[in-house]
Protein backbone atom coordinates (compact mmCIF):
# COMPACT_ATOMS: atom_id res chain seq x y z
CA UNK A 1 0.00 0.00 0.00
CA UNK A 2 1.41 3.38 -0.95
CA UNK A 3 1.29 5.96 1.81
CA UNK A 4 0.04 9.30 0.64
CA UNK A 5 1.62 11.33 3.38
CA UNK A 6 1.69 14.46 1.27
CA UNK A 7 -2.09 14.43 0.85
CA UNK A 8 -2.45 14.12 4.60
CA UNK A 9 -0.12 17.05 5.19
CA UNK A 10 -1.99 19.10 2.61
CA UNK A 11 -5.24 18.36 4.41
CA UNK A 12 -3.71 19.44 7.73
CA UNK A 13 -2.44 22.71 6.29
CA UNK A 14 -5.79 23.44 4.66
CA UNK A 15 -7.93 22.60 7.69
CA UNK A 16 -5.82 24.28 10.36
CA UNK A 17 -4.58 27.41 8.62
CA UNK A 18 -0.98 26.34 9.08
CA UNK A 19 1.68 27.54 6.65
CA UNK A 20 3.30 24.22 6.08
CA UNK A 21 4.00 20.76 7.41
CA UNK A 22 6.74 18.22 7.15
CA UNK A 23 7.03 14.57 8.14
CA UNK A 24 10.51 13.70 9.30
CA UNK A 25 12.17 10.36 9.95
CA UNK A 26 13.85 9.92 13.37
CA UNK A 27 17.25 10.45 11.78
CA UNK A 28 16.23 13.87 10.51
CA UNK A 29 15.40 13.16 6.88
CA UNK A 30 12.22 14.50 5.35
CA UNK A 31 9.65 11.85 4.35
CA UNK A 32 7.06 14.23 2.91
CA UNK A 33 6.47 17.93 3.07
CA UNK A 34 4.16 20.76 2.16
CA UNK A 35 6.12 23.91 2.84
CA UNK A 36 5.94 27.51 1.69
CA UNK A 37 8.49 28.75 -0.81
CA UNK A 38 11.87 29.65 0.66
CA UNK A 39 11.73 27.19 3.52
CA UNK A 40 14.00 24.20 3.04
CA UNK A 41 12.46 20.96 4.21
CA UNK A 42 15.90 19.52 4.97
CA UNK A 43 16.67 22.29 7.44
CA UNK A 44 13.32 22.08 9.18
CA UNK A 45 13.67 18.30 9.33
CA UNK A 46 17.15 18.45 10.85
CA UNK A 47 16.09 21.08 13.37
CA UNK A 48 13.06 19.01 14.45
CA UNK A 49 15.03 15.83 14.90
CA UNK A 50 17.76 17.63 16.82
CA UNK A 51 15.63 19.50 19.34
CA UNK A 52 13.27 16.58 19.90
CA UNK A 53 16.16 14.26 20.62
CA UNK A 54 17.54 16.75 23.16
CA UNK A 55 14.11 16.98 24.81
CA UNK A 56 13.90 13.22 24.90
CA UNK A 57 17.27 13.01 26.57
CA UNK A 58 16.05 15.29 29.33
CA UNK A 59 12.99 13.04 29.73
CA UNK A 60 15.17 9.96 29.79
CA UNK A 61 17.47 11.47 32.45
CA UNK A 62 14.42 12.05 34.63
CA UNK A 63 13.16 8.51 33.94
CA UNK A 64 10.07 9.91 32.28
CA UNK A 65 8.11 8.68 29.31
CA UNK A 66 8.34 9.87 25.76
CA UNK A 67 8.32 13.51 24.81
CA UNK A 68 5.01 14.02 23.01
CA UNK A 69 5.09 17.51 21.65
CA UNK A 70 7.41 20.44 21.44
CA UNK A 71 6.76 23.88 20.16
CA UNK A 72 8.87 26.92 19.59
CA UNK A 73 7.13 30.28 19.39
CA UNK A 74 8.82 33.07 17.49
CA UNK A 75 7.71 36.56 16.58
CA UNK A 76 6.78 35.21 13.15
CA UNK A 77 4.83 32.20 14.34
CA UNK A 78 5.08 28.69 15.69
CA UNK A 79 7.04 25.60 14.83
CA UNK A 80 5.40 22.55 16.38
CA UNK A 81 6.97 19.10 16.45
CA UNK A 82 4.99 16.04 17.46
CA UNK A 83 6.33 12.50 17.71
CA UNK A 84 4.48 9.84 15.67
CA UNK A 85 5.39 6.74 17.70
CA UNK A 86 8.96 5.73 16.84
CA UNK A 87 8.21 6.13 13.17
CA UNK A 88 8.50 9.85 12.55
CA UNK A 89 8.13 13.41 13.71
CA UNK A 90 5.45 15.70 12.37
CA UNK A 91 6.54 19.32 12.06
CA UNK A 92 4.04 22.11 11.50
CA UNK A 93 4.77 25.76 10.73
CA UNK A 94 2.04 28.21 11.64
CA UNK A 95 1.63 32.00 11.71
CA UNK A 96 1.51 33.73 15.08
CA UNK A 97 -2.11 34.70 14.44
CA UNK A 98 -3.23 31.06 14.41
CA UNK A 99 -5.66 29.72 16.96
CA UNK A 100 -3.29 27.42 18.77
CA UNK A 101 -6.02 25.27 20.30
CA UNK A 102 -7.54 24.59 16.89
CA UNK A 103 -4.18 23.81 15.39
CA UNK A 104 -3.29 21.37 18.17
CA UNK A 105 -6.64 19.63 17.69
CA UNK A 106 -6.03 19.29 13.94
CA UNK A 107 -2.57 17.93 14.65
CA UNK A 108 -4.05 15.31 16.99
CA UNK A 109 -6.46 14.24 14.21
CA UNK A 110 -3.63 13.85 11.73
CA UNK A 111 -1.58 11.95 14.29
CA UNK A 112 -4.38 9.41 14.61
CA UNK A 113 -4.56 9.03 10.84
CA UNK A 114 -0.81 8.65 10.59
CA UNK A 115 -0.77 6.01 13.27
CA UNK A 116 -3.53 4.14 11.45
CA UNK A 117 -1.63 4.40 8.17
CA UNK A 118 1.59 2.99 9.53
CA UNK A 119 -0.19 0.48 11.72
Amino acid sequence: MAYDFEALLNELVKDSGAEGAVLVSPDGLAIASVLPEGIEEDRVAAMGAAILSLGERVASELNKGQLEQLYVKGSEGYVIFTGVKDFAVLGVLAPSSIKLGLLLMEIRKVMKKLEEMIG
Binding site: G28, A45, G55, V58, L62, K64, K73, E76
Partner: protein, 318 residues
Amino acid sequence: MELLNKLQPILKDITFDTRAVFTGIFRGEEPISIYSTLGNKEKTISQLTGLLVRKALISSEDVLESFKPEFLFAEGKDFGIFIYVAEDNIAIATVINEKPNFSLLKMTHENAVKKLIPYIEEIKEFIPEPEEAPLKEVKPEEEKPKETTEEIKEKVAEATEEPSEVSEIEELEKILSEEANEVELEKTEEETVQQTQEKPVKEEKSEKIEEAEEKEEITEEVPLEELLGVSKEESKKDTSVEEVKEIDKLIEEIKKKFIKEIGPVGKILFNKILKSINVEENPTMDKLKELIEQLAQEISVEKRRAEFIRDTKKIIGG
Protein backbone atom coordinates in the same frame (compact mmCIF):
# COMPACT_ATOMS: atom_id res chain seq x y z
CA MET B 1 28.67 36.26 43.46
CA GLU B 2 26.57 39.30 44.14
CA LEU B 3 24.78 38.83 40.82
CA LEU B 4 24.08 35.18 41.57
CA ASN B 5 22.57 36.16 44.92
CA LYS B 6 20.25 38.54 43.11
CA LEU B 7 19.18 35.91 40.57
CA GLN B 8 18.48 33.10 43.02
CA PRO B 9 15.21 34.59 44.39
CA ILE B 10 13.84 34.81 40.83
CA LEU B 11 14.54 31.13 40.30
CA LYS B 12 13.16 30.19 43.70
CA ASP B 13 9.91 31.98 42.84
CA ILE B 14 9.60 29.97 39.61
CA THR B 15 10.25 26.75 41.52
CA PHE B 16 7.66 27.67 44.13
CA ASP B 17 5.00 28.68 41.58
CA THR B 18 5.43 25.83 39.12
CA ARG B 19 6.85 23.03 41.31
CA ALA B 20 9.82 22.84 38.98
CA VAL B 21 12.63 20.40 39.72
CA PHE B 22 15.13 22.48 37.81
CA THR B 23 15.23 26.08 36.73
CA GLY B 24 18.11 28.13 35.46
CA ILE B 25 19.14 31.32 33.75
CA PHE B 26 21.27 30.73 30.66
CA ARG B 27 23.19 32.84 28.22
CA GLY B 28 23.38 30.76 25.08
CA GLU B 29 24.09 27.33 26.48
CA GLU B 30 26.09 28.66 29.44
CA PRO B 31 24.27 28.41 32.77
CA ILE B 32 24.50 31.59 34.83
CA SER B 33 22.48 30.62 37.86
CA ILE B 34 20.62 27.40 38.67
CA TYR B 35 18.12 26.34 41.31
CA SER B 36 17.38 22.65 41.38
CA THR B 37 16.24 19.77 43.52
CA LEU B 38 17.70 17.14 41.23
CA GLY B 39 20.84 16.36 43.22
CA ASN B 40 23.43 14.48 41.18
CA LYS B 41 21.46 14.79 37.95
CA GLU B 42 21.59 18.56 38.08
CA LYS B 43 24.77 18.85 36.01
CA THR B 44 23.49 16.63 33.18
CA ILE B 45 20.12 18.34 33.05
CA SER B 46 21.85 21.70 33.06
CA GLN B 47 24.03 20.69 30.09
CA LEU B 48 21.10 19.27 28.14
CA THR B 49 18.88 22.25 28.85
CA GLY B 50 21.69 24.57 27.81
CA LEU B 51 22.02 22.72 24.52
CA LEU B 52 18.29 22.91 24.05
CA VAL B 53 18.36 26.66 24.66
CA ARG B 54 21.04 27.10 22.07
CA LYS B 55 19.65 24.66 19.52
CA ALA B 56 16.01 25.55 19.68
CA LEU B 57 16.04 29.22 20.43
CA ILE B 58 19.20 30.49 18.85
CA SER B 59 19.80 28.08 15.98
CA SER B 60 16.13 28.14 14.95
CA GLU B 61 16.88 31.46 13.32
CA ASP B 62 19.30 29.67 11.02
CA VAL B 63 16.37 27.61 9.77
CA LEU B 64 13.64 30.23 9.67
CA GLU B 65 14.77 33.69 8.77
CA SER B 66 13.86 36.45 11.24
CA PHE B 67 12.06 33.92 13.43
CA LYS B 68 13.05 35.73 16.65
CA PRO B 69 12.34 32.94 19.15
CA GLU B 70 10.25 33.83 22.19
CA PHE B 71 9.71 30.57 24.01
CA LEU B 72 9.90 26.80 23.74
CA PHE B 73 7.51 24.39 25.39
CA ALA B 74 7.97 20.64 25.39
CA GLU B 75 5.69 18.18 27.09
CA GLY B 76 5.30 14.52 27.80
CA LYS B 77 2.66 12.74 29.90
CA ASP B 78 4.34 13.59 33.18
CA PHE B 79 7.07 16.05 32.43
CA GLY B 80 7.66 19.36 30.71
CA ILE B 81 10.33 21.83 29.67
CA PHE B 82 9.74 25.55 29.28
CA ILE B 83 12.30 27.99 27.96
CA TYR B 84 11.56 31.70 27.81
CA VAL B 85 13.86 34.16 26.07
CA ALA B 86 14.60 37.44 27.83
CA GLU B 87 16.99 39.13 25.43
CA ASP B 88 20.44 38.79 23.84
CA ASN B 89 20.49 35.00 24.07
CA ILE B 90 19.57 35.16 27.74
CA ALA B 91 16.82 32.72 28.64
CA ILE B 92 15.16 31.12 31.64
CA ALA B 93 14.74 27.36 31.35
CA THR B 94 12.59 25.23 33.61
CA VAL B 95 12.04 21.49 33.89
CA ILE B 96 8.87 20.12 35.47
CA ASN B 97 8.60 16.57 36.78
CA GLU B 98 4.83 16.29 36.41
CA LYS B 99 2.10 17.10 33.87
CA PRO B 100 2.97 20.67 32.88
CA ASN B 101 0.50 23.53 32.84
CA PHE B 102 1.44 25.63 29.82
CA SER B 103 -0.45 28.79 30.80
CA LEU B 104 0.98 28.79 34.30
CA LEU B 105 4.49 28.24 33.00
CA LYS B 106 4.17 31.03 30.49
CA MET B 107 2.80 33.51 33.01
CA THR B 108 5.40 32.62 35.64
CA HIS B 109 8.25 33.03 33.16
CA GLU B 110 6.91 36.33 31.85
CA ASN B 111 6.93 37.64 35.42
CA ALA B 112 10.39 36.21 36.04
CA VAL B 113 11.78 37.92 32.95
CA LYS B 114 10.41 41.25 34.18
CA LYS B 115 12.33 40.72 37.41
CA LEU B 116 15.40 39.73 35.42
CA ILE B 117 15.51 42.83 33.19
CA PRO B 118 17.34 45.08 35.72
CA TYR B 119 20.19 42.57 35.85
CA ILE B 120 20.57 42.01 32.11
CA GLU B 121 23.63 44.26 31.77
CA GLU B 122 25.32 42.55 34.70
CA ILE B 123 24.59 39.17 33.14
CA LYS B 124 26.11 40.31 29.86
CA GLU B 125 29.26 41.30 31.69
CA PHE B 126 29.24 38.07 33.66
CA ILE B 127 29.08 35.91 30.54
CA PRO B 128 30.06 37.66 27.30
CA GLU B 129 28.17 37.12 24.03
CA PRO B 130 28.47 33.46 22.99
CA GLU B 131 30.53 32.99 19.87
CA GLU B 132 28.77 32.21 16.62
CA ALA B 133 29.39 29.12 14.57
CA PRO B 134 33.10 28.92 13.62
CA LEU B 135 32.38 28.26 9.97
CA LYS B 136 30.99 31.75 9.65
CA GLU B 137 33.58 33.57 11.66
CA VAL B 138 36.93 31.96 11.18
CA LYS B 139 38.34 33.54 8.07
CA PRO B 140 41.83 34.60 9.10
CA GLU B 141 43.41 33.45 5.85
CA GLU B 142 41.78 36.18 3.81
CA GLU B 143 43.78 38.94 5.45
CA LYS B 144 47.16 37.27 5.17
CA PRO B 145 49.63 37.59 2.26
CA LYS B 146 49.57 35.23 -0.66
CA GLU B 147 51.23 31.85 -0.65
CA THR B 148 51.84 29.34 -3.36
CA THR B 149 49.88 26.12 -3.67
CA GLU B 150 53.07 24.11 -3.13
CA GLU B 151 53.70 25.80 0.19
CA ILE B 152 50.15 25.15 1.29
CA LYS B 153 50.45 21.49 0.35
CA GLU B 154 53.70 21.17 2.32
CA LYS B 155 52.13 22.66 5.41
CA VAL B 156 49.04 20.53 5.12
CA ALA B 157 51.26 17.47 4.77
CA GLU B 158 53.32 18.57 7.77
CA ALA B 159 50.19 18.81 9.87
CA THR B 160 49.13 15.35 8.73
CA GLU B 161 52.33 13.81 10.08
CA GLU B 162 51.40 14.71 13.63
CA PRO B 163 50.49 11.34 15.19
CA SER B 164 48.91 12.62 18.36
CA GLU B 165 46.28 14.71 16.62
CA VAL B 166 43.19 14.36 18.76
CA SER B 167 40.00 14.45 16.78
CA GLU B 168 38.08 17.36 18.17
CA ILE B 169 34.83 15.66 17.25
CA GLU B 170 35.71 12.49 19.17
CA GLU B 171 36.74 14.54 22.16
CA LEU B 172 33.48 16.40 22.14
CA GLU B 173 31.55 13.19 21.68
CA LYS B 174 32.96 11.96 24.98
CA ILE B 175 31.52 14.94 26.78
CA LEU B 176 28.10 14.31 25.36
CA SER B 177 28.01 10.54 25.14
CA GLU B 178 26.35 9.74 28.43
CA GLU B 179 23.40 8.34 26.53
CA ALA B 180 24.37 5.06 24.91
CA ASN B 181 21.60 4.82 22.35
CA GLU B 182 22.00 8.07 20.52
CA VAL B 183 21.25 8.09 16.85
CA GLU B 184 24.02 9.24 14.56
CA LEU B 185 22.26 12.45 13.73
CA GLU B 186 21.91 13.37 17.36
CA LYS B 187 25.63 12.88 17.85
CA THR B 188 26.65 15.03 14.94
CA GLU B 189 24.13 17.68 15.91
CA GLU B 190 25.58 17.97 19.37
CA GLU B 191 29.09 17.93 18.01
CA THR B 192 28.21 20.86 15.81
CA VAL B 193 26.90 22.75 18.78
CA GLN B 194 30.03 21.97 20.75
CA GLN B 195 32.23 23.00 17.86
CA THR B 196 30.90 26.51 18.14
CA GLN B 197 32.72 26.81 21.43
CA GLU B 198 35.92 27.66 19.70
CA LYS B 199 38.24 27.98 22.65
CA PRO B 200 38.17 24.40 23.97
CA VAL B 201 38.41 23.08 20.45
CA LYS B 202 41.51 25.12 19.79
CA GLU B 203 43.09 23.97 23.02
CA GLU B 204 42.70 20.38 21.99
CA LYS B 205 44.47 20.83 18.71
CA SER B 206 48.11 19.84 18.54
CA GLU B 207 50.68 22.60 18.49
CA LYS B 208 51.86 21.61 15.06
CA ILE B 209 48.44 21.96 13.55
CA GLU B 210 47.98 25.28 15.29
CA GLU B 211 51.26 26.42 13.78
CA ALA B 212 50.28 25.25 10.34
CA GLU B 213 46.93 26.96 10.68
CA GLU B 214 48.52 30.21 11.72
CA LYS B 215 50.90 30.12 8.82
CA GLU B 216 48.38 28.86 6.38
CA GLU B 217 47.58 31.70 4.05
CA ILE B 218 45.10 31.11 1.32
CA THR B 219 43.99 34.29 -0.32
CA GLU B 220 43.86 33.16 -3.89
CA GLU B 221 41.34 30.59 -4.98
CA VAL B 222 43.24 27.31 -5.14
CA PRO B 223 41.79 24.90 -7.68
CA LEU B 224 40.47 21.79 -6.00
CA GLU B 225 42.22 19.61 -8.52
CA GLU B 226 45.57 21.05 -7.41
CA LEU B 227 44.81 20.46 -3.76
CA LEU B 228 43.77 16.93 -4.57
CA GLY B 229 47.00 16.42 -6.49
CA VAL B 230 45.11 15.42 -9.59
CA SER B 231 46.30 16.75 -12.91
CA LYS B 232 43.62 17.59 -15.43
CA GLU B 233 44.82 14.85 -17.76
CA GLU B 234 44.89 12.37 -14.96
CA SER B 235 41.40 13.27 -13.94
CA LYS B 236 40.15 12.48 -17.38
CA LYS B 237 41.30 8.87 -17.09
CA ASP B 238 38.48 6.78 -15.84
CA THR B 239 40.13 4.35 -13.50
CA SER B 240 37.72 1.48 -13.22
CA VAL B 241 37.51 -0.19 -9.87
CA GLU B 242 36.45 -3.78 -9.73
CA GLU B 243 35.81 -3.96 -6.04
CA VAL B 244 32.50 -2.15 -5.70
CA LYS B 245 32.32 -3.09 -2.06
CA GLU B 246 35.63 -1.37 -1.47
CA ILE B 247 34.27 1.77 -3.10
CA ASP B 248 31.19 1.59 -0.90
CA LYS B 249 33.41 1.54 2.15
CA LEU B 250 35.35 4.53 0.88
CA ILE B 251 32.12 6.41 0.20
CA GLU B 252 30.93 5.67 3.70
CA GLU B 253 34.16 6.99 5.20
CA ILE B 254 34.02 10.13 3.09
CA LYS B 255 30.41 10.59 4.19
CA LYS B 256 31.37 10.35 7.87
CA LYS B 257 34.15 12.89 7.40
CA PHE B 258 31.80 15.25 5.59
CA ILE B 259 29.08 15.01 8.25
CA LYS B 260 31.66 15.67 10.95
CA GLU B 261 32.75 18.76 9.08
CA ILE B 262 29.35 20.17 8.12
CA GLY B 263 27.04 18.87 10.82
CA PRO B 264 23.79 16.92 10.47
CA VAL B 265 22.75 18.77 7.34
CA GLY B 266 25.83 17.17 5.81
CA LYS B 267 23.98 13.87 5.61
CA ILE B 268 21.35 15.37 3.37
CA LEU B 269 23.83 17.32 1.27
CA PHE B 270 26.00 14.25 0.89
CA ASN B 271 23.13 12.13 -0.40
CA LYS B 272 22.15 14.81 -2.88
CA ILE B 273 25.67 15.20 -4.25
CA LEU B 274 26.22 11.45 -4.32
CA LYS B 275 23.06 11.06 -6.35
CA SER B 276 23.91 13.92 -8.68
CA ILE B 277 27.25 12.49 -9.75
CA ASN B 278 26.09 8.91 -9.98
CA VAL B 279 28.96 7.35 -8.07
CA GLU B 280 27.08 4.30 -6.94
CA GLU B 281 26.10 3.26 -10.46
CA ASN B 282 29.48 4.06 -11.90
CA PRO B 283 31.95 3.44 -9.08
CA THR B 284 35.38 4.64 -10.21
CA MET B 285 38.21 6.47 -8.51
CA ASP B 286 37.62 9.47 -10.72
CA LYS B 287 34.03 9.60 -9.56
CA LEU B 288 35.23 9.49 -5.97
CA LYS B 289 37.56 12.39 -6.63
CA GLU B 290 34.70 14.27 -8.22
CA LEU B 291 32.60 13.51 -5.16
CA ILE B 292 35.29 14.93 -2.88
CA GLU B 293 35.59 18.04 -5.05
CA GLN B 294 31.87 18.67 -4.93
CA LEU B 295 31.62 18.04 -1.21
CA ALA B 296 34.59 20.32 -0.55
CA GLN B 297 32.79 23.15 -2.29
CA GLU B 298 30.17 23.03 0.46
CA ILE B 299 32.83 23.90 3.04
CA SER B 300 33.08 27.65 3.07
CA VAL B 301 36.28 28.12 5.09
CA GLU B 302 39.32 27.55 2.90
CA LYS B 303 41.41 26.10 5.69
CA ARG B 304 38.78 23.55 6.67
CA ARG B 305 38.18 22.74 3.03
CA ALA B 306 41.88 21.98 2.57
CA GLU B 307 41.80 19.78 5.67
CA PHE B 308 38.78 17.91 4.37
CA ILE B 309 40.44 17.34 1.02
CA ARG B 310 43.63 16.19 2.71
CA ASP B 311 41.79 13.71 4.93
CA THR B 312 39.53 12.32 2.24
CA LYS B 313 42.46 12.04 -0.15
CA LYS B 314 44.12 9.87 2.44
CA ILE B 315 40.98 7.73 2.62
CA ILE B 316 40.93 7.02 -1.11
CA GLY B 317 44.71 6.70 -1.15
CA GLY B 318 44.99 9.33 -3.87
